[in-house]
């Protein structure tokens, strides 16, 4: 099936059955649940995660245990160069079954690396799972920091979680008080400009892609794209790690919303690419 969501074999709405994962994760906890299931059942022996260090700064790390994966739960909305640790994971950590999660551009980078591995000796065979997330755009760390400190008036060290939904960016504090909301239109000037040449919203080349859009609160939409992705999700469902419900193909917040956002991104960025070409600026080709 090819449409605005890329090629996929099936589409499900799911969430983790693990209470601890659901508590800490962004929505349905699909990535966390998949990683933990993979690590505990020998399908993966290490995974690339986007953890945070001091100052809510995203940093890519290699996780090998349930605790390490759980500590990196949640969406960061800021740059975590996950590809930068892939070679180390395979060469220094000697991982043979690496799990990888990335934004659409990182999944494309990973796939390009696997297609043309000139600088990655004996690495491609050790990648066992590529999970993609839905992504509209990203914020540079300092932009996110400015938004949180100057607009929301929260010390960056007190931030425990950020979330974008319902037209707002929510900043959650460590003390558990009510999140502070920043309207999305205020965040637009802080977006990373290079995201505006990206034509991929749903990680069209991942084994499976996931995100909150298109499903009810606390659930995630999962687009299963190839055999490897299907096998993995099937095993998780069979092991009782995921509960699923039928996707909503009609409703306003169902799959039509996912398709709408994907089309919006593609239309908007196609214009930007055209504009760049008019200006004589290079675009990825």
């Amino acid at each position: 099936m090819t449409n605005t969501l890329g090629e996929y074999t099936s589409i499900i709405v799911a969430r983790s059955t693990d209470k601890e994962i659901l508590e800490k994760s962004q929505d349905g906890g699909i990535v966390t649940a998949a990683y933990i299931y993979g690590l505990e059942n020998g399908l993966l022996d290490g995974v690339v995660v986007a953890d945070t260090e001091k100052g809510f700064k995203p940093v890519p790390k290699i996780a090998r245990t349930r605790a390490e994966v759980l500590s990196a739960c949640g969406t960061k909305y800021s740059l975590s160069p996950n590809m930068s640790v892939v070679k180390d994971a395979v060469k220094e950590y000697a991982l043979e079954k690496l799990g990888f999660v990335g934004t659409p551009c990182q999944v494309i980078a990973m796939k390009k690396m696997m297609q043309y591995p000139v600088a990655f000796r004996q690495t491609t065979g050790n990648i066992s799972l590529i999970v993609g997330i839905f992504c509209m755009e990203n914020f540079p760390y300092n932009a996110m920091k400015t938004l949180i400190e100057q607009y929301a008036r929260v010390n960056i060290n007190d931030v425990v979680k950020t979330d974008i939904g319902k037209g707002k960016l929510f900043v959650y504090k460590k003390d558990g008080s009510d999140p502070i909301a920043i309207p999305i239109k205020e965040t637009i000037p802080f977006e990373q400009k290079s995201c505006h040449v990206c034509m991929d919203y749903t990680s069209e080349f991942a084994d499976f892609s996931t995100g909150s859009v298109g499903s009810p609160d606390g659930w995630s939409t999962v687009l299963i794209r190839n055999k490897r992705g299907k096998d993995f999700i099937d095993k998780m469902i069979a092991a009782g790690k995921l509960e699923t419900q039928a996707p909503d193909f009609e409703g306003k917040i169902g799959i039509p919303l996912l398709e709408k956002l994907s089309t919006d991104k593609k239309t908007k960025n196609a214009k930007e690419i055209e504009h760049r070409i008019e200006m004589g600026l290079p675009v990825p080709y």
Partner: protein, 234 residues
């Protein structure tokens, strides 16, 4: 040419895959890998044994840069071009000049040899595979695609011939300052010199460590996107 034979070792390092390739091709010329055709010239005062480059070669993988101070090297690369259908610059020295391009030269045993250029500066080059050395996997994939005539796959290497100089500087000039870098970190992972580290999601380059190999430039998805065909199933 002028290189360290590391790329040749990378080619031989393909283990059983090398056998797949060898069953599909005749290896007719290559130091250490094959018996050499020898040209014997007998004159009145001496007998000269020379390695002879065979005629009608389909694909020539050239390793190392051309030393312009050495007429043997210049003559040989010209001969290779004349007698081969496809000339491939295998590895960074051959494609971008690599570390030989940014060295001062003049060392023993050839102190007069100082000028090194990529082969594409001397002869028309069809493909350029960067890397110091290019990984065995990428060489196998390249050769298999060449045997099958998969021009879609090979196009990126044909395009890379235009880089007679490629270094970490290109990441700044071609990607970051053009507003294209989205911070995936592929360059940092690709660089075997660890000259690239990620700082706030952008590459931070220590040029004094860069060996001009161009791996990061080829690997960057924001200079060239991969072909969508077959990408899902890689």
């Amino acid at each position: 040419m002028s290189g360290c034979t590391g790329c040749l070792i990378s080619l031989a390092d393909t283990y059983e895959k090398l056998l797949d390739i060898l069953s599909a091709v005749d290896l007719v010329y290559g130091i250490t890998l094959t018996d050499e055709l020898t040209k014997v010239t007998e004159t009145e005062d001496k007998i000269v044994f020379e390695r002879a480059y065979p005629d009608d070669v389909d694909i020539a993988l050239v390793e190392g840069s051309v030393c312009l101070d050495d007429h043997h090297a210049v003559d040989l690369i010209k001969e290779v071009r004349e007698k081969s259908k496809i000339v491939v610059a295998l590895g960074s020295c051959s494609g971008t000049g690599g570390v030989t391009r940014i060295s001062r030269g003049g060392q023993n045993p050839q102190p007069t040899h100082v000028s090194f250029v990529p082969i594409s500066a001397v002869v028309k080059t069809d493909f350029s595979i960067p890397g110091c050395p290019p990984s065995t996997d990428s060489i196998v994939k390249f050769l298999m695609a060449a045997l099958e005539g998969d021009t879609d796959y090979l196009e990126i290497y044909a395009d890379f011939v235009k880089y007679q100089d490629a270094s970490g500087e290109n990441l700044i000039k071609q990607v970051i300052s053009q507003g294209l870098c989205m911070g995936c970190g592929t360059c940092a992972s690709a660089c075997q010199m660890r000259a690239v580290t990620m700082f706030d999601g952008k590459p931070d380059i220590r040029m004094e460590l860069c060996i001009n190999c161009g791996s990061c430039v080829l690997q960057c998805p924001r200079i060239r996107m991969p072909k969508a065909k077959g990408l899902l199933e890689v």
